[in-house]
């Protein structure tokens, strides 16, 4: 700025040098080293950028060998896993596993007539009686027998007086 600046003339003292010096000092401020790298790192981690572009933004100049070593480890691991999975000499050994299967038929139900093993076929004989089945006569001991029949011989039963 011209020292005879009319903006400063009326004050009597020329402060142009003072003002310009302060502005020059402000303009000479420098950021800390690595500002560009920090900005690129921040951009690389920004969610706006697709993951496959983040490698392109971040400069890998300083991490070239680290990236190469990491890539080699990943490739070697992949090869190892692939060869292990396709191993032809491996002998399969039977392993005790629980395989879901149809419930075994009860002996009485399986022996009865009309029991079907088909899963979709309605079979009343399989589901009509559950639990221990007792005949009506076994529960009601005082029921008179039909005419002309005799009661079965049971250890704890006494024959009814005729």
């Amino acid at each position: 700025m011209n020292p005879s600046d009319p903006a400063l003339r009326h004050t009597g003292v020329d402060y142009t040098q003072e003002i310009d010096g302060a502005l020059a000092a402000l303009a000479a401020v420098r950021p800390r080293d690595g500002l560009e790298q920090r900005i690129l790192t921040r951009i690389a981690s920004a969610p706006e950028l697709p993951w496959y572009r983040r490698f392109a933004v971040a400069s890998m100049g300083h991490h070239r060998w680290a990236m190469a070593a990491a890539s080699a480890v990943i490739v070697a691991g992949g090869v190892t896993m692939t060869s292990y999975r396709h191993h032809t000499v491996a002998v399969s050994t039977p392993v005790a596993v629980h395989i879901p299967h149809a419930a075994p038929q009860a002996a009485a139900a399986a022996a009865s007539v009309g029991v079907s093993d088909h899963p979709l076929e309605i079979n009343k004989a399989k589901t009509r009686h559950r639990g221990v089945h007792k005949s009506y006569r076994a529960i009601h001991g005082r029921v008179p027998l039909p005419r002309g029949t005799t009661a079965p011989m049971r250890p704890n039963t006494t024959p009814l007086p005729q």
Partner: protein, 194 residues
């Protein structure tokens, strides 16, 4: 500094005319970071006077650019565009931080300001004087102060300052005139000897 036309003619491709997928702008963005991060840092620091905050603002600027990277080919002058983004970001943050005055700690500002004097004692004195002048500059009206700060940074032309502030060139000139006059008056009242 005189060319106001875009300096990205060789950096950015022409706008896409085909209906293909959006081109990758990461290379252009990286080039912008390397070219203008220092300038934007000084722009942010001129207002915030805080190194960490200035760096944060620069990073935020490039994040904004990243979000609108598809518009990069439309930008005529990337330098002015980026300065304007940073300028608005810092002013916006300043408005939200009304509690802390800008000239709160002059000694801290004097520590950050560089001094070209070879003698250490002279350098310290010069830095303190500069910090005092900048503190008085913060007392100027906002319009004059902003024009004065931008005129000092990277030697922006009046046309570029007008573009950043969204005013005419004649307004820039009048604001600069008033800013220097008022600041000199404050220095005279303060008793600082030239």
């Amino acid at each position: 500094m005189g060319s106001y036309e875009g300096n990205l003619t060789g950096l950015l491709p022409m706008p896409e005319t085909t209906a293909t997928a959006a081109p990758d702008r990461t290379a252009e963005l990286t080039a912008l970071v390397h070219e203008y991060s220092g300038t934007l840092y000084r722009v942010a620091f001129s207002i915030s006077r805080n190194t960490a905050e200035a760096e944060d603002m620069v990073q935020e600027t490039f994040l904004r650019v990243l979000r609108h990277r598809d518009r990069l080919p439309e930008i005529r002058d990337a330098r002015v565009w980026l300065i304007r983004i940073t300028w608005n970001l810092v002013l916006d943050r300043k408005r939200r931080q009304k509690t802390r005055p800008e000239n709160e700690d002059i000694s801290e500002l004097a520590r950050v300001l560089p001094a070209k004097d070879l003698r250490a004692d002279h350098a310290v004195i010069a830095a303190q004087r500069h910090a005092r002048v900048l503190a008085l500059m913060d007392e100027l009206p906002a319009k004059e102060r902003q024009a004065l700060l931008l005129s000092a940074l990277e030697e922006l032309s009046n046309a570029e300052i007008a573009s950043v502030l969204g005013i005419t060139e004649s307004s820039v000139r009048s604001r600069l005139f008033r800013a220097r006059r008022d600041l000199a008056e404050k220095l005279r009242k303060e008793g600082l000897k030239s």
